[in-house]
């Protein structure tokens, strides 16, 4: 358990740094930015304690927010994903799935994993951009950003899945 937490903490820090130092610099066609922090929550295995998933998502979101100077925006949207992921993964399990099956393209099947990731990424991007443009009256632009960013994030997640063990 302790080793798992330390390992996850290490991955969490790497994901956070990659997001703020690398992915946040990518801004394609003035609308699309990869929001790869959501990948950390999507990849949580089945049967992971729900309170654990919530705490991971909240603190990872908060850490990213500190760097982006947007307190609450990433944390709120990622916590929603942390809440939804354990329920949603149940819908995409193969037959006779183990209770602690990994959430990956290899164990769930590419199509099932793609559907799971797509739903979670779309929810995350919609909430994220809605909150980010909260005081800014450009809803159509926010919707464009959410759609384009979801597409880019999903493409990158699937690319990472091909090299993940």
């Amino acid at each position: 358990m302790t080793i798992d937490i330390i390992r996850r903490l290490f991955v969490c820090i790497i994901v956070c740094l990659l997001q703020v130092l690398v992915f946040d610099r990518i801004w394609l066609f003035d609308v699309a930015t990869p929001l790869m922090v959501v990948y950390f929550i999507i990849a949580l295995p089945r049967g992971y304690p729900r309170w654990g998933a919530l705490l991971w998502s909240f603190f990872l979101g908060l850490a990213v927010d500190m760097f982006r100077n947007t307190p609450g925006v990433t944390a709120a949207s990622l916590t929603i994903i942390g809440m939804v992921q354990p329920y949603l993964i149940e819908l995409f399990l193969p037959r006779d799935a183990e209770p602690d099956i990994k959430s990956s393209a290899r164990s769930l099947g590419v199509w099932h994993f793609l559907c799971l990731a797509a739903i979670l990424v779309i929810i995350f991007c919609l909430v994220f951009f809605a909150l980010e443009t909260f005081t800014f009256a450009a809803w159509l632009y926010a919707l464009e950003c959410a759609g384009a960013s979801a597409l880019l994030t999903l493409a990158l997640i699937m690319a990472f899945e091909t090299v993940r063990k």
Partner: protein, 286 residues
Amino acid sequence: MQNLIAFFTKNFHWLLFLFLELVCVVLLFRYNSYQGSVWVSSANAVVGKVYEWQSSVGQFFSLEERARQLTDENIALQQQLSHVRQELLDLKGDSALADSMMQDVIGELHLLPAKVVSNSLRRPDNLLTIDRGRADGVLPDMGVVSGTGLVGVVYMAGEHYSVVMPLLNVHSRVSCAIRNHGYFGYMSWDGSSAIDAFMEDVPRHAQFDTGEWVETSGYSDIFPPGITIGQITAIGNSADGLSYRLRVKLNTDFSTLREVSIITDDTFPERLQLLKAARDSMAVAN
């Protein structure tokens, strides 16, 4: 009672979820109020340090370009200086007096050099982080300038890092004037282009042309008059049609901004306290 405990145990994750979302909402609203928490921003020490490392890597690779820019700025400043010196000399006819007058003007400004460690351009609420904080005498509401002109105003100050609200922020308002004409207004940004901002509230009777320069007006405690902001590129009308709205091409390139200076002043804390006291007394009176 046991049922109640069983209910809470069973639905603990829902309660935790609601609690965490509540914390997020509080953070969101705190951020919207002026001067939110320094701890959940890039003004905190850990985040500032990480950005500083990243920035130093970036700076290393752009040293040659920076050296060229600084040389260009130096030459332009030297030309301006000799021009001003000549004008002063023509007016006063005494070189020693002219020199001492210039020293007086420069002496009033205390500039604290700082490095930009993080910068964003694409959000409506762009902020940048600099590597100076309260320990160096930086306080919120101090002005920030660069070699090419105005940058913004200190928004939050941590112990060693500060967050600056640049001109490229939809909430930014800086009092400005058209150079050599004196017509004043305020600079604002609409969240679109990172190279243009708008000068609002310019009176209808004002006489000026495109290509003229916009500078700080000095009608605030934050900036002294005469700091370059940009050049007028288009003249339009305000939404209510009562004043002009000018498109201004910013002289500062925010995408390559590395070195800035904070305008500090020994009397700043005293003035800030006085202003706060005046506001408080007005609030009580209302």
